[in-house]
């Protein structure tokens, strides 16, 4: 390593890799984040890609990005604004300029700044020739031509050569942040095992980028000290994969086979793909003909005694609502995962939002209560998918698990749990030899019914969507019975509050103001509140994972604060929910509805304003 180089120590850095959707920016970003995690940093990532698979090349609409935040501590989000932007073409620069910190570094592929590409990006004049970038440290690197030069000796077609240019950019950033290249080298060896020339090409280009940055004699590079991380075995996991694994873990723990009935929909598809790939764990994946068949086949599988799940996103949840009602009245265990995206209708398929909360709570005909759980971070998707399975199976009820596009696609290092550490899951199968089985007989002291499945002799019974007589389960139109059954189903869900943990106050408990959030905003809220506390501002945080039922101490805890600020990526749905549950308190709200996560900066400003009011 060059001894003349000034090495500056930083606590955290945000990098955004950005290029055409075919430029391999997701892979580049993942390589950087994996390497950083392996080098002992905390990392949080978020890919940002267009809805079109290959939008017109070179246009702003076709830009695909991957943002990551890595550092020494308190990395709870992928970061608001980037310290470094890698822009593989003018469109990538244009799309991201507003997200770079003043004084930040921009690495450009100067070869791509042709008149034609500038025109495609709708630049009226070349931004490199006016002063529009003067706030930034711009490195104009001939990435494409140097990649070609590097590989000219190799027997490789031009297309394959060009395809490696992302590794040149990665090499440059590796030098800038003192990353070791060996992890990526190992990755190439595994990934391209069958084509040695591609392994060689990627290694050469990565190293060429690294050496190029070194020889540019950039005045500074950065070191990011290792994070203080709890000991254990770690891996990187995205929210969607963690969700799939949480469901698989619940299946294994309960001793049941997993059945997933699902239909592909962005941004939830990856869960289906992951489970389809887990036949080795016995998982059945049924790619249905539509969203409705996805959930209904799962209900059929639950009737037949499987751990049944369905996965979807907002519009799909709408299509499934009648069937969720069927699972409610049939009192069968079922997990419905909804990876929320911007709505209404098709809305913003690749962008995030928290606007399906009221749909999850109330979006069905009749009195149709479900358990609703929301996940806070990518790696917590495992925990809460597991809990969703546990609650569904132990309480014989559908459970809606809400994640969102932000945490589903985001990833972070995750301390791998051992299966033996996870809570037991107790299924409700009727015991063989039980006499006089009645399908709606409640287990003593609970509202939970017992599960008898086809194939079990002596327990034959009929269930269905028509209202059933309490206990016996025969069809009943008796007016009073309907009220009894509606209340029994409601109480069954309400009772679950006794099985979930109390909500904990985070931040400075002894404050006037409490910030309230739920689901995927956790990282942003936690970082914001921590920063404000460090700055001496008193503010507490209540972050909810259990939405229905709410933790049983919710009312008591909310009552401690003069001011309750409910923050959401929607127009105030949890705000309305809390107000309807506990109308005695004063709530204010802060909402963002742009298909984007919060920034810590805007949250801080909002909270400070509220503190001053």
């Amino acid at each position: 390593m060059d001894s003349k180089k000034t090495i500056i120590e930083l606590e955290r850095v945000v990098i955004k890799f950005s290029g055409d959707s075919g430029d391999g920016m997701q892979l580049t970003g993942m390589q950087f984040s994996d390497t950083s995690a392996l080098m002992g940093n905390e990392v949080s990532t978020f890919p940002d890609y267009p809805a079109e698979i290959r939008a017109p090349q070179g246009t702003v609409g076709g830009v695909s990005g991957f943002q990551l935040n890595f550092g020494t501590e308190d990395i709870n989000t992928p970061g608001d604004y980037a310290d470094v932007l890698v822009a593989m073409n003018p469109a990538a620069l244009k799309a991201n300029l507003r997200w770079i910190k003043p004084g930040g570094t921009i690495i450009l592929d100067i070869d791509s700044f042709t008149d034609k590409n500038l025109e495609k990006a709708e630049y009226k004049e070349n931004p490199l020739l006016n002063d529009s970038l003067h706030d930034f440290h711009v490195i104009q690197a001939p990435i494409t031509s140097l990649t070609k030069e590097t590989l000219k000796e190799l027997d490789l077609d031009t297309k394959s050569v060009i395809r490696t240019k992302n590794m040149f950019a990665l090499g440059m950033v590796y030098w800038l942040f003192n990353r070791e290249s060996e992890f990526s080298h190992e990755y190439f060896e595994k990934k391209f095992k069958k084509v040695p020339v591609i392994i060689q090409a990627n290694k050469l280009v990565l190293d060429a980028g690294y050496n190029y940055a070194f020889s540019l004699q950039l005045v500074r590079s950065y070191r990011i000290p290792k994070a203080k991380i709890k000991s254990g075995t770690y891996r990187t996991v995205s929210g969607n994969v963690a969700t799939a694994w949480g469901l698989l873990a619940a299946a294994e723990k309960s001793g049941l086979q997993l059945f997933l009935g699902s239909y592909p929909i962005t941004p939830a598809t990856e869960i289906l793909q992951e489970i389809a790939n887990r036949k080795d764990l016995g998982a059945i994946s049924f790619q249905a003909e539509d969203e409705i068949a996805g959930i209904v086949s799962a209900i059929g599988a639950a009737f037949a005694g499987k751990f049944a799940c369905t996965t979807t996103s907002g519009p799909g949840l709408a299509l499934k609502s009648e069937a969720i009602g069927l699972a409610v009245i049939a009192e069968l265990p079922l997990v419905i995962v909804n990876v929320q995206r911007g709505g209404p209708s098709t809305g913003l398929p690749t962008k995030t939002e928290q606007a399906d909360l009221l749909q999850a709570l109330y979006g069905r005909n009749g009195e149709s209560p479900c358990v609703v759980i929301a996940v806070g971070t990518p790696s917590n998707c495992f925990k809460y998918a597991y809990i969703a399975g546990k609650i569904a199976l132990e309480h014989m009820t559908p459970v809606i698990l809400l994640t969102d596009g932000f945490i589903a696609n985001g990833s972070s290092p995750w301390r791998i749990p051992k299966m033996s550490e996870l809570d037991e899951i107790k299924t409700r199968f009727i015991k063989d030899g039980t006499q006089n089985y009645k399908p709606y007989q409640r287990i003593e002291g609970t509202m939970i019914r017992e599960w008898a499945i086809p194939g079990m002799a002596g327990f034959e019974h009929r269930i269905g969507g028509l209202e059933k007589m309490a206990v016996t389960g025969t069809v009943s139109y008796v007016p009073e019975n309907h009220e009894v059954m509606v209340r029994e189903r409601a109480k069954k869900i309400e009772d679950i509050k006794n099985y979930i943990p109390d909500i904990k106050i985070q931040g400075e408990p002894d404050s006037d103001l409490v910030v309230v959030g739920w689901g995927g905003t956790y990282g942003h809220l936690l970082s914001t509140v921590n920063e404000l506390n460090k700055e001496g501002k008193k503010v507490a945080l209540l972050h909810f994972n259990y939405i229905n039922p709410l933790p049983k101490n919710t009312e008591e805890v909310l009552g401690k604060y003069k001011k309750i600020l409910v923050t959401e990526i929607n127009d105030g749905q949890f705000f309305s929910y809390l107000r309807s549950k506990f109308p005695q308190f004063n709530y204010t709200k802060y909402n963002k509805i742009q298909g984007l996560p919060f920034t810590i900066q805007e949250l801080k400003e909002t909270i400070i304003k509220n503190l001053e009011e």
């Binding site: 075995t233 059945f259 764990l281 409705i292």
Partner: protein, 335 residues
């Protein structure tokens, strides 16, 4: 007839009062199914009877087996889930022309396409009965109903054509009152591995009474019904003197003994022909109407293939449990 003496048809009746209208064709169909089940090898607890919504879909409540009365149109998806979850079960989907062909049309064609080993009994009365008399996807063009006071201006589906169009492996047709024929058909359906679609022409005494009279009245029925059996000549008629022959690309009715035609000239039914052309002609034929098992061909079933694939992957994969999966791929240790 009984092949085992374990059950009588009464064992398949539940204690619930049957609430179909007196004289409804559904009653006879249920009785045929119960009789067929009593004659099969399956134990009572291994039957699952699944339905959607409609008059016929009340069926599971009247059975003593496991049953699930689902939501409108979704019987196919529900049954697909049950059978895929547990292929050992004998799964019977009870559905109607509205449930299967209108609101549930998508599930209907896809269960057939997948060839899930289900017995689908499609009660076709060409009307919506439970909502009291609106036209259905099988109502004839011009039919006057409550929602088509001037006659429908829609072409009907022929259910068998959807089966052929969906690469179906089994299609049979029966008539509600013909209990003996139906028992035979249902047993064939159960024997068949794959999606067995049995269309039962069913009379709705209240909203579409007499829709099949031309086919079923005592005077003409033998001349208007052709009961097909695999390997047997296509002969029908009161005097069993009528038969089918090819006429170019079509079928024609001929009289045995006339114009030198003998029984040997009559077409022999081949339900096992994978090519559906002749079967399609039989499905579409109006006079006589073809009954019995029209198509029964062997193709792999979905439910079997799903579990076979899982078993194969389990035997080959290094990942044997969740702990293996969690620790697979790129991991690192923090001391």
């Amino acid at each position: 007839m009984a092949e085992n003496t374990k059950y009588t048809f009464k064992d398949f009746k539940s204690d619930q009062q049957v609430r179909w209208c007196p004289g409804c064709g559904d009653i006879a169909i249920m009785s045929s199914i119960q009789k067929a089940m009593a004659e099969m090898d399956t134990s009572l607890e291994n039957y699952a009877v699944i339905s959607g919504i409609g008059c016929s879909s009340r069926f599971p409540y009247y059975m003593s087996t496991y049953g699930f009365h689902g939501i409108h149109g979704r019987a196919g998806a529900l049954a697909s889930g049950v059978k895929t979850a547990n292929p050992k079960l004998s799964v019977w989907q009870i559905t109607g022309d509205g449930d299967a062909l209108a609101i549930g049309g998508n599930h209907f064609i896809h269960e057939i396409r997948r060839n899930i080993d289900l017995n689908v009994i499609l009660f076709n009365n060409q009307i919506y009965g439970l909502t009291k008399g609106q036209y259905s996807p099988t109502s004839f063009y011009g039919q006057v109903t409550k929602t088509s006071p001037y006659g429908t201006v829609e072409q009907p589906f022929e259910p068998g054509e959807l089966v052929i169009g969906s690469n179906g492996t089994f299609f049979a047709r029966g008539i509600d009152a013909n209990v003996q024929m139906n028992i035979e058909i249902f047993k064939e359906a159960e024997k068949h591995r794959g999606t067995s679609i049995v269309e039962v022409l069913q009379n709705c005494v209240i909203f579409n009474d007499g829709i099949y009279d031309e086919l079923t009245n005592k005077e003409h029925k033998e001349d208007r019904q052709l009961y097909l059996r695999h390997g047997e000549p296509m002969i029908f008629g009161k005097n069993r003197d009528k038969g089918l022959m090819l006429d170019g690309f079509d079928l024609k009715v001929v009289k045995i003994g006339e114009n030198g035609i003998t029984e040997k000239d009559i077409l022999v039914h081949n339900a096992h022909d994978i090519r559906p052309y002749m079967q399609l002609m039989l499905i579409k034929m109006k006079l006589p109407v073809a009954l019995g098992v029209i198509r029964a061909v062997a193709l792999p079933t979905y439910d079997n293939a799903v579990h076979k694939q899982i078993d194969e992957v389990i035997s080959k994969s290094k990942i044997k449990c969740m702990d293996d999966l969690l620790n697979s791929g790129s991991t690192w240790v923090v001391e």
